[in-house]
Symmetry: D2
Subunit: 290 residues, 4 copies
Amino acid sequence: MSASITLRNRIAERGLIHVMAAHSPLSAILVEEAGFDGIWASGFELSALHGLPDMSFVSMSQHLDMLRAMAGRVSIPIVADIDTGYGNALNVTHAVREYERAGASAVVIEDKTFPKVTSLVAGGRQELVRTEEFQGKLEAAIATRGDPDFLVIARTEALIAGLGEEEALARAAAYEAAGADMILIHSKRKTPDEIESFARTWKGAVPLVIVPTSYPEMNEKRVRALNTIAMVIYGNHGLRAAVTAMRDTFRRIIADGGALNASRDIVSVEEIFRLQNMEAAKDSEKRFLR
Amino acid sequence: MSASITLRNRIAERGLIHVMAAHSPLSAILVEEAGFDGIWASGFELSALHGLPDMSFVSMSQHLDMLRAMAGRVSIPIVADIDTGYGNALNVTHAVREYERAGASAVVIEDKTFPKVTSLVAGGRQELVRTEEFQGKLEAAIATRGDPDFLVIARTEALIAGLGEEEALARAAAYEAAGADMILIHSKRKTPDEIESFARTWKGAVPLVIVPTSYPEMNEKRVRALNTIAMVIYGNHGLRAAVTAMRDTFRRIIADGGALNASRDIVSVEEIFRLQNMEAAKDSEKRFLR
Amino acid sequence: MSASITLRNRIAERGLIHVMAAHSPLSAILVEEAGFDGIWASGFELSALHGLPDMSFVSMSQHLDMLRAMAGRVSIPIVADIDTGYGNALNVTHAVREYERAGASAVVIEDKTFPKVTSLVAGGRQELVRTEEFQGKLEAAIATRGDPDFLVIARTEALIAGLGEEEALARAAAYEAAGADMILIHSKRKTPDEIESFARTWKGAVPLVIVPTSYPEMNEKRVRALNTIAMVIYGNHGLRAAVTAMRDTFRRIIADGGALNASRDIVSVEEIFRLQNMEAAKDSEKRFLR
Amino acid sequence: MSASITLRNRIAERGLIHVMAAHSPLSAILVEEAGFDGIWASGFELSALHGLPDMSFVSMSQHLDMLRAMAGRVSIPIVADIDTGYGNALNVTHAVREYERAGASAVVIEDKTFPKVTSLVAGGRQELVRTEEFQGKLEAAIATRGDPDFLVIARTEALIAGLGEEEALARAAAYEAAGADMILIHSKRKTPDEIESFARTWKGAVPLVIVPTSYPEMNEKRVRALNTIAMVIYGNHGLRAAVTAMRDTFRRIIADGGALNASRDIVSVEEIFRLQNMEAAKDSEKRFLR
């Protein structure tokens, strides 16, 4: 059974699945062990891991390498964040082919124009591509996937671009018509109201995906109450936790002039061995080293 | 001024420098911000980041890619862990050329045989290469470096291999004679006594390096008292801190059915933006985007 | 149907298959178009493409990247040259997992010790690993493959190491006993006699593979007459042809002070477009660009 | 002396330099040996090597890896083809930083919009970015380079986009005003007349660059007569020569059922050893292997 079917089945069985961002096989293993249903192969986290802004500085090759390494170490499905698809509909065909080969079970493509800019730049720049153009990109993705169960998820930034709920709903419907398997609706509000309103109004046949980073009070209970959201993506909590802990540990070691105290509050080296699958290596040594 | 000179100067000025392991540009930035003198581009941490045992599964290309990305984001010198040098003295020439090009200021080469095995495998396997053979590797490294200030650090595993202090001292002296700039003396004892004894007995002209992972009570004060150690490498504390925090955060989000509580104890998204150098990106937008 | 089954079926149907070395997707496409049965993902050609000696300077990552790119562009099976397996039996498990994921249908593992040295170095250095040790590596490969049709081919360098036919036959039999699907028997003689003698004497149940680079008079007719060889690998002819032509073309352009004459004797830019699959790109533009 | 100064000096001394495209360190070595003044790290050739259309399918990482490998093996300067700079002016800053680190002496940035489309797509699609927008990209490149001798070459596609000589000249002047070190003027005419007219009319202080692929009768004599062109780039002749020869050799081996005849017309394996710098490896073995 392919990981893509697994992903579809989980959504069907549970009604709602939880997907956590990872930026490395190690963080992906921890995501799986914690009990999440899938991995979000996040462009933002990978950019941050490189200490670079999330502006297409990290290349598709680098993202694929990381996704492939994760796919080699976890069993849960991987949802790939491919931004705008690295260009136009042709670049989408190339990307979908490569992400599927690398082990992804789904891609999320967004309707912004390439390249990204920060919110600093005023005016029309946070603009979206035309609806028909984005439909072409979705159709390109769908025609390219080898496995019909591989999910193509359309992400609309209409609310963030300030185009309003009506436009967001119209785009979501158009993307569903083009064949999208799910619609990711994104918001940057500090409260869930904008998303809740959209989710209540949505009448499409395909379910919604949300990324409640800026409105974390949007918990499972509230999500289930809406009845239209089937996937929650947690976008960057692992990375932020890692930064918090590394900073603290580094500062303590500097302050103490040694690692004695800092060592007490972090996992042991043996626990790292376990995550590296040292047990399997030892078994192989016993069986095959002569 | 090259980063290699910076590294040599810091050692000369301070007598003792502190070098922390990093497994990504992000962790390297945090190392620099905390005030460490250098980065340890650790093979162990990179293997763990890939969820793989530290047995040469991660390739030299992958290590170089990571080191290069770190060198693009930090100003402090990078000391590269190149294990046994990826083969014999010829492979060392190739490795030194590539690590220097990638932005390292120093390499550490160890005198174990390739490939690595776990301690499980009994007997003679944790064996070392002959002293003359390792001298050839050091001479190859020294003859290859383009910048004469680039440091070649010889790591002896004689104590770990159970060969005793006398052999460890003899090897260290032979490596110094071959041109090594520093000697890394490694121990797996749970207490510093083995290292302290070696450091007290060492009469060489070049200073020592230690990695006090298993004997963290070996703090700056005790190190300075010995007067022969010029570099302390902290081998894996950032990675262990990151694992600890990611695990905790992931578990809380699963338990809570949402990220509200977990979000309160981790750095903000804005802090990640800062580490990504978003400020520079915004400045560039203002200056160059039209 | 997996590419590995295709490879096994072709061998079964034709009795003898022809496999040509490639160093890029472009050369692989030309191999396929010429009518070969498979691609030899050659370590030697890839090293040469990098202008580096074939001494494990090119990493497994680089080899995998190239193989993966080839697998994305050709339909015929790919046989991967993995040298000694990048270390011991543990490294073999990692390598087999990765080569299978990258799209190889077979691996060839050789019984030399790592690292490689040139023939310049006298004495015992061109030595082989112990037979039992190599059996462990083969068993590791076989236990690791996910697809039971994925071929594990054992390459013995016994003749090249000067150990004689008897030792070569004994090793080949031991490797078959360990589960090898085929035996690659290598010779550096300038004539086929050594190989023909071995092939005539071989009584194993698994077929042989040869690489007749230094004895090119060993053609299909002579091979078929022996009745024990099922695969001929052409090791480096594409690369040598490319070097010959590039050199000639570069010299002519320099001599002429322009490309007019040189352009007449090389394929057109349109032919390169065809090999880049520009037709498919144009089709996609028509279907998906709006 | 940096490679960038070497490039500037050669242009100053010779008035006109010849730069040949390479797609690998091997082809770059042959370019250098033939006597060219520099290497063109061509996006088109690298895409073709991957069997992919030249539509930003090959990533910046892949291009950098290849350029870096070339820079490790040749001494002549490398001019990097960075297309539109991988996005907007911000992406240009990232690209210039990385190409300079990888060993390039110059970048060529073109004024087309991203992403590329084939000529099939009618109408306004082969359009250029606004002049001021492209000036911003050039200024971003210039502000980013670490070495002031690193060349930023502006390529205008105005003639190809059908905008006429006047617009081409206006853009060239605007790009010079923004700080471009040279102007690459491109044409797809089958004869040199369009380029010759532009070159005769050009009154700027910075010299021109041409890529006479489709009008190869534009030889050194005609170029020198114009007095404004300082660099000729040969865009894809090595790759086309390689394809021609590989195809022929592969077909002969299939037709002959063996490599005997084909082997006679291609360079020897020993010649490949020479290009791999096997001599240096043997020297290192003698000096360092014990």
